[in-house]
Amino acid sequence: MRWLFSFVLATLLAAVHAVSYTGSRLLVVLEDAAEKEKYGVFLGDLESRGYHITTESPKSDKLSLFKHGERAYDHVLLLPSKAKGLGPALTANLLLEFMKKEGNILLALSSENGTPSSVNSLLLELDIHIPSDKGAVVVDHFNYDSTSAAEKHDVLLLPFPKALRPDVKNYFGGEGVIAVPRAVGQVLGNDSPLLAPVLRAPSTAYSYNPKDESDIVEDPFAVGAQLNLVSVLQAHNSARLAVLGSAEVLQNAWFAEKATLNGQAVKTANRDFSEKLTSWTFKETGVLKVGKLLHYQDEGVSKKLNTSGALPENNPQIYRIKSDVAFQVELSEYSKTHLVPFVPADSDVVQLEFSMLSPFHRLNLTPISKTANATIFGVSFKTPDQHGIFNFRVNYRRPFLTNIEEKRQVTVRHFAHDEWPRSWQISGAWVWIGGIWVTVFGWLAFVAVWLWSAPAEKTVKKTQ
């Protein structure tokens, strides 16, 4: 009950001024306008969070993701349609092009309607695999809703997902159970670091096609936690794509429905989950922003730093090898309405690379201080004993967070002629210095003797 209250409170607060970091134009692609009713609460929630929703049918002539070569919308929500194809405005190529221009896509699949061919080839391109046969569903005989699917076991009731790894922040956590009715399971390719599972099927779940004749599952598409019910991709340009295995998750009918899990009455928290999923996909959460980046020669004395946000960065262009350098960067995270100081997950660190071709230093940045909406991370180090053109590089890529790649180029010069230790400070040089002094003294003595010496005794001369 408490989560419901806090959620209502959050929604009320959010209604005032929440909006995505990148824009509020949302295109909802829905074939049948009558179906819109089913998603009424969900779309109402989005609208109250500040999105300007345009609903279009894939068949509509007016539908285009681009206008004058630029994105016409910031986000797209693709709801399942009965048609096999989505028409010329929503080809896989155009959807990828939309992502290349940093548009975000939420893709809702449904096992009742087949997956359109353009969506199929889009997912294939991204190394997300879904069952090829229409109608395949994920079932689990252990975690199903015995109220609505007592016989078919295809309405899964799952807890909110936990953090993917200990060093990854969880943007999808919550309390309660999520009802996932008749989901299309996805299997993610193992090679891409851009893909991440959000909601995994439980270990006893499997995907099968009810149209199969056999009474026993013989060759399931995928089994257990390999099956994802919700998976996401974040491209190199931080454009986001979320694949939701079951569009019914977003429907009013499941938003706060009474269900029975293993004999216990529960209430579904789909409204909370769909809020979390859309706010991540449409960049209300998990968006990082780099503020001021400072580096300076650490001279060991207190120096007034250019930390004001109003002034431009004024960093040195050149450093000497083996000199002490301090580095600072401000990182903020966008959280629904405003920027807050970014705090990495517990076992995660932001790292600085000082690199020329390859990193010479890769150092963990530690939070030094916090401003109202940024954490200042910093580290001090000694420039390497190699001159050249170096970069201060912060390349921070983590699942569910937008990518940060910041570079500042500096020259690292070698010692100037007057920065070396003097020869008398080097004990090995004393012999040579002594030799020079002996020569100087000998020369002066020679000049004096040559100028002023009287001839030696005659006797000596005679013997010669």
Partner: protein, 289 residues
């Protein structure tokens, strides 16, 4: 454990509410055999599995062994074909799961074969025994069955290299790199330096001593200064000054301070030197040298 308790509660609850839901899935007549390739029939390990308690000792699966598991699935007391009958292996360290499907006939008799070739590499490299559980479930109201039935101990042939694929790239914090600096240049021990410095400095008294034995002296100093005091003083002074300029160049001056000073002192040395040397020549012509 928690799962068991939930199953029990759910069992109790469902039996309390619905009489028809009392049945639950399970299995009986489960035999596990491990057959080594080449060994005779019946030579391998043979174990009976129980649906209520896991096998006490772990089952060893060698490189050429085939594990064969025969079960009869039951719903309640009756043998029946379920929709799902999996043998699920879970690696305790990495959490990798792999399920093998029993091919169950309508009579409820099911079979699964397992060799090392069927297993993903995580299982082959695991040091701990791998828990194997049987999952039986089907549509309808019967309670599904899931329990650990035995532990699989995989004995790899250490002579056969295992192709472990490179770990796929994942975005995470990387290891720190600290630049390793070259060593500073080193000087020899000070005592050696001091000995050789002393040897070099000793050249001065030796030189002076040798000159003295050869009869070098400064006896004409007063004569020279009485004949041409200014040029002698200036000439020797300019040579001293030139050394002083070199010393200053060594310590503090730069080239642009050194060159004009050296020019001035050099001119003085040139002019006064010709006079001083003329005086020396006069002494030689007078037969004094």
């Amino acid at each position: 454990m928690r799962f068991l308790s939930t199953t029990i509660t759910s069992f109790l609850l469902s039996s309390a509410c619905l009489v028809s839901a009392a049945s639950s899935w399970g299995f009986e007549d489960a035999t596990l055999t491990v057959q080594t390739k080449g060994a005779g029939v019946g030579a391998g390990v043979k174990e009976k599995l129980s649906s209520s308690a896991p096998l006490a000792k772990s089952v060893k699966l060698g490189a050429t062994d085939t594990l064969k598991l025969l079960i009869t699935t039951t719903d309640g007391k009756k043998a029946k074909q379920p929709h799902q009958a999996f043998l699920t292996l879970t690696d305790p360290t990495t959490g990798v799961e792999e399920s093998f499907v029993f091919s169950v006939k309508e009579s409820g008799k099911g079979k699964v074969d397992l060799t090392q070739k069927d297993l993903p590499f995580q299982f082959l490299t695991s040091s701990k025994p791998i828990p194997a559980s049987i999952v039986i479930g089907s549509f309808g109201s019967s309670t599904p069955y899931q329990a650990r039935v035995f532990d699989l101990n995989i004995a790899r042939d250490p002579n056969v290299p295992l192709a472990v694929p490179a770990a796929p790239e994942r975005y995470t914090a990387e290891n720190e790199i600290h630049h390793i600096f070259r060593d500073d240049p080193k000087s020899p021990p000070k005592i050696i330096t001091l000995v050789f410095t002393a040897a070099v400095l000793a050249a001065v008294p030796i030189l002076l001593g040798v000159w003295a034995t050869l009869g070098a002296n400064l006896n004409h100093l007063s004569k020279a200064f009485s004949n041409a005091p200014i040029s002698h003083a200036l000439f020797f002074g300019s040579i001293l000054a030139m050394e002083g300029i070199f010393f200053l160049y060594y310590t503090t001056w730069n080239l642009f301070q050194t060159l004009p000073a050296a020019g001035v002192v050099g001119l003085v040395a040139f002019l006064s030197g010709s006079r001083a040397l003329t005086e020396v020549q006069e002494r030689r012509l007078a037969g004094l040298r």
